[in-house]
């Protein structure tokens, strides 16, 4: 560590963190790096909120005082909790999670640009996000207090926390008395923020690459973000209009999804999943990118099969648009449609498998360092293997019928999103932390907290696979006594998991604020552009526009026969 601080001392020039001071300079900044921190601050708050809701559910489901009765929270609160958990985690945390934070920070740096294409729009997106977040909070409030307060809250449409689940399935979402309008309107506004971010990134990647940064030299994280941005831009409007129609149905009795008015609830599901299936790739594709950055650096090897990795990302993004109804195999779609969607779903499985093979092969004959980011990346590979293989059960028609809406789906989903996207985000935060903060974190604490996260996570969700196999349905406040043991193990795991995340983030937070070990420009000896500028980077990113002359992944000694390639 002491070697780092010596290198850090030399860096006394103003950087993006201190070139302007005061809260106003942050709230009006158009610097992508500062906007990243604005987002990061906001999403971590919502990560905490969503996590608390999850813990409340797990605590109830442990049924410490026995099944068949109310333990800590009642059924209505429980239903509100899983809705809050889902909606907050999806719309407020993980969809903007990687693209708006690490994507914002790294995209211009990695392609050698000074900023994103539309810096003001970037800041505007953050404000839209915050407006959406406030609207979502209205959807979570319970009208309490004196009568006039309750009346006032009812007047603005606050009727109690939303209890529909994050999917807002019609006609329940049209009938329930809770603040569905606020929550769906919030999702609409948040979607707008997501669209503008995606649009900004696409234009940035197309137009602002530094000289020599050709498409086939783009870091895989940039590719991941690019694929994500395409999905953000093209899928989000559809869910926007769908949720708008739900609002119209509640407000004006337009019956598009309400069978009582001649509408079709299955149409809602089609429109909803047309967005909400691709959205899981919004969450996980950037995480693929992060892992694709970490493994080569810590193995001192080029990423194995760069082109395959890139094509796989793009294929997943494209095919991801064509598989939405695999969420609806038991929902009343025709047999022919079910068969089509089952078969096409495997079109996503294959490129995902290819990616995993490539990551592991990258480690072959490497010189592997086990810093915390690498531990997260390796943990990611294991968790994503589980996520991917359990996804196969759900793609196979005959078997999905059994697993649909059981805990198996819950576990599978959390392996992809938490084991994939969140672990990826954590790995990315640890990896780029020196660049973002200019400090080094405590490596031992990083490893210990990684261990807590990893063990806690598996302990939470492996029992849920077993529960699903035994037939336990999801979104159940209460259950038959035979499921209790596994639920209790899962709850214990959730507590460890929560503790792990809290400590892992505190480790970073502590280092950022109180840390004294300054980070050098390139602590991991990476070849990609963001490490070729000081830590933290200056306001303008690079003192001179960099010129790229070779691959981002030219690690190791050239082997015979390879020279021709470059």
């Amino acid at each position: 560590m002491s070697a780092y601080s010596a290198a850090g001392e030399a860096n006394a020039k103003p950087n993006y963190l201190n070139h302007e001071k005061g809260i106003w300079s942050w709230l009006t900044t158009v610097d992508h790096k500062r906007i990243c921190l604005l987002y990061l601050f906001a999403i971590l708050i919502f990560f905490f909120v969503g996590g608390m809701a999850a813990l409340a559910m797990r605590l109830e489901l442990a049924k410490l005082y026995g099944t068949g009765q109310h333990n800590f929270i009642d059924a209505e609160t429980y239903n509100a909790m899983f809705t809050i958990h889902g909606a907050v985690m999806i719309f407020l945390f993980i969809v903007p999670g990687i693209p708006a934070t690490l994507g914002n920070f790294l995209l211009p740096l990695m392609i050698g640009a000074k900023d994103v294409a539309f810096p003001k729009l970037n800041l505007f997106s953050w404000y839209i996000y915050m407006v959406g977040a406030c609207m979502a909070l209205f959807g979570l409030l319970k009208p309490i207090g004196p009568a006039f307060m309750e009346k006032a809250m009812n007047f603005i449409g606050v009727h109690g926390p939303v209890d529909t689940g994050w999917t807002f399935y019609a006609p329940y979402s049209i009938e329930t008395g809770t603040s569905v309008v606020w929550m769906t309107a919030a999702a609409f506004v948040l979607g707008f923020s997501s669209i503008l971010t995606g649009l900004n990134f696409i234009v940035t990647i197309h137009k602002l690459r530094a000289p020599g940064m050709t498409w086939d030299r783009l870091p895989v994280f940039v590719w991941g973000t690019y694929a994500t941005a395409v999905i953000q831009t093209l899928a989000t409007p559809v869910v926007g209009i769908t949720l708008l129609l739900v609002i119209m149905e509640r407000g004006f009795g337009v019956g598009v999804f309400n069978p009582k008015l001649g509408g079709d609830p299955v149409l809602y599901q089609h429109l909803f999943w047309f967005y909400s299936h691709p959205v899981v790739y919004i969450m996980v594709l950037p995480a693929f990118g992060i892992v694709g950055e970490i493994i080569p650096v810590f193995s001192r090897k080029p990423i194995f099969g760069y082109k395959a990795v890139v094509y796989a990302s793009v294929t997943i993004a494209v095919v991801g648009f064509l598989v939405w109804a695999h969420h609806m195999f038991v929902a009343g779609i025709s047999e022919a449609a079910a068969i089509y969607f089952s078969v096409v779903t495997f079109g996503v499985a294959v490129p995902t498998a290819v990616k995993v093979f490539n990551w592991v092969s990258t480690m072959y004959r490497g010189s592997i360092r086990f810093n915390t980011p690498m531990l997260y990346a390796m943990g990611f590979i294991f968790l994503f293997m589980v996520a991917g293989t359990t996804g196969v059960y759900l793609a196979v028609l005959a078997v999905d019928v059994y697993y649909h809406d059981t805990y198996f789906v819950v576990a599978h989903f959390h392996y992809t999103i938490q084991g994939g996207a969140v672990i990826g985000l954590m790995g990315g935060l640890y990896y780029w932390f020196p660049k973002m903060s200019g400090k080094m974190y405590n490596e031992t604490a990083g490893k210990v907290t990684w261990f807590l996260v990893f063990v806690g996570f598996n302990l939470t969700f492996i029992p849920q696979f077993a529960l699903g196999m035994e037939g336990m349905p999801r979104r159940y406040y209460d259950y038959l006594p035979q499921y209790q043991n596994l639920h209790q193990v899962s709850t214990a795991g959730a507590v460890i998991n929560a503790l792990g995340y809290t400590l892992a983030l505190l480790n970073l937070g502590w280092a950022a604020v109180f840390g004294r070990v300054k980070a050098p420009a390139n602590p991991w000896d990476s070849l990609s552009l963001e490490w070729q500028t000081p830590s933290p980077p200056p306001h303008e990113n690079f003192e001179v526009t960099p010129v790229v002359t070779g691959s981002t992944y030219a690690y190791g000694t050239p082997v015979r026969g390879d020279a021709a390639a470059h």
Binding site: P265, M378, A398, V399, Y402, H404, D405
Partner: protein, 443 residues
């Protein structure tokens, strides 16, 4: 490894499980192989002594990449193909399938069986309600045709490996052939609101002969459907416990009496008045606390989701009929059947608590610990009860007896004084004793 499925109770369960187990084995193989390779590489090629060793710049291998694109593709095609084939088998409806209709409603299932009686007349047997037990014959294909009356539900019988969403306005079906007699749980697997997790039923698979007896046995069946609306209303009046709070003779209980209430102008708590008509009654059943009649407390639970349109119409007709023209017979406990005295006090007490009282004790007091209108009976005896007036006492025989005969005397904290004072006339001294004996045993 990882075989957690419930027993195979339907003909296609074995196929589904075979498919599932193949995926499990393949998954385990690939996971162990890949993660194993990763761990092996991590150990074998770890950096030693803090110094990087020389690494080769391997950028890829076309051969390897072709292999690991083609192999998963072949495995995928295989899995997708068999998944489709088995799925199609599970959806095929044999010609001799027994057709049963099911309705999902917040938060219970109703079933309708159509059959021909001895005279060749078409008959319908209807069963339903919370935790209903429906019955099918073994070794005969069953086609269950389903629709929802309100929001989305989903019908799931784990042991039969059968599931399908139940949608308002559209028919869907599941088909399965039970191969084992027994009792199997049925779940609702599409979130449908507050009591989603309690929307259960059980499936009893019996022999063909037993099924036939069950089907044609109409005595146990609630013949509500065949009744005139007002007769249906009358039955519901006691069955749903309306009589706990609304009298027929004009006496004031917790809620307004039904006598001559129809057509009356009632003044409401908020100062407005309302005509008691069909809509007001319906509204009061579904959303009881919206328009409270002056001088009454807003304590009535909502029957939204528990009563269908026919049943509400029945109640409306019944209330309308209470115009004072017919003499009102006070509801009494059902006549004592033969052999009553031969039962033990405990058995008698149980029957009284669950059924023989009007309204039945259990319509307001649960046996499982959940709070309904009144405190649960679970573990009531010997419990320390906090009262409304701030005092507390230990529940003993005397308190129980007093509460049955004179419910308003000591009200438990957090509960409304909603219990009707009707049991003093309804029950004999011995009955009260039997009930107390039984309550002691509810743990």
């Amino acid at each position: 490894m990882f075989r957690y499925f419930p027993e195979q109770a339907s003909a296609h369960a074995a196929d589904v499980d075979w498919m599932n187990n193949i995926i499990t084995d393949l998954s385990l193989f690939f996971t162990v192989a890949i993660v194993g390779a990763m761990i092996y590489f991590a150990i074998r090629y770890r950096q030693r002594n803090g110094k990087d060793h020389e690494t080769p710049r391997i950028e890829g291998s076309h051969t390897l990449e072709m292999i690991w694109t083609i192999v998963p593709t072949i495995v995928s095609i295989f899995l997708a193909y068999y998944g489709v084939v088995i799925y199609q088998q599970t959806r095929e409806v044999p010609e001799n399938a027994l057709r049963i209709t099911a309705w999902g409603q917040k938060w219970f299932w109703d079933f309708e069986y159509e059959y021909k009686d001895e005279a060749g007349q078409s008959q319908v047997k209807k069963i339903g309600g919370k935790d209903v037990e429906w019955v099918v014959p073994v070794d005969r294909p069953i086609k269950l045709v389903m629709q929802s009356r309100d929001v989305l539900h989903s019908f799931f019988i784990p042991a039969m490996r059968a599931k399908k969403d139940v949608i308002p306005g559209q028919w869907s079906y599941i088909v399965f052939t039970p191969i084992k007699t027994g009792k199997y749980p049925v779940f609702c697997t599409e979130y449908c609101g507050k009591e989603h997790s309690n929307m259960m039923a059980s499936l009893r698979v019996v022999s063909e002969a037993e099924f036939d007896r069950w089907l044609k046995d109409r005595s146990a069946e609630n013949a509500l459907a065949g009744m005139s609306p007002s007769a249906r209303g009358k039955q519901l009046y006691t069955e749903k416990g309306c009589n706990a709070c609304h009298s027929l003779d004009g006496s004031r209980l917790i809620g307004p009496s039904f006598l001559k209430v129809f057509g009356k102008k009632e003044s409401l708590q908020d100062g407005t008045t309302v005509d008691v008509d069909e809509n007001y009654i319906q509204e009061s059943i579904l959303h009881p606390n919206k328009q409270i009649v002056e001088g009454y407390a807003p304590v009535m639970p909502s029957y939204d989701g528990q009563l269908g349109p026919d049943e509400i119409a029945g109640l409306i007709a019944f209330i309308q009929a209470q115009d004072g023209s017919a003499p009102v017979a006070a509801p009494v406990a059902a006549p004592v059947d033969d052999g009553w005295d031969k039962l033990s006090p405990l058995e008698r007490g149980e029957k009284l608590v669950k059924a023989k009282t009007v309204p039945a004790c259990t319509s307001c007091h649960s046996l499982d610990g959940s709070a309904l209108v009144g405190p649960s009976f679970k573990g009531i005896f010997g419990r320390t009860a906090e009262l409304q007036d701030g005092t507390s006492l230990v529940v003993d025989e005397a308190y129980l007896e007093e509460s049955i005969l004179n419910p308003m005397a000591k009200i438990a904290k957090n509960f409304a004084p909603a219990m009707p004072p009707v049991y003093g006339t309804q029950l004999k001294e011995q009955d009260v004793k039997d009930i107390v004996e039984y309550l002691k045993t509810v743990k």
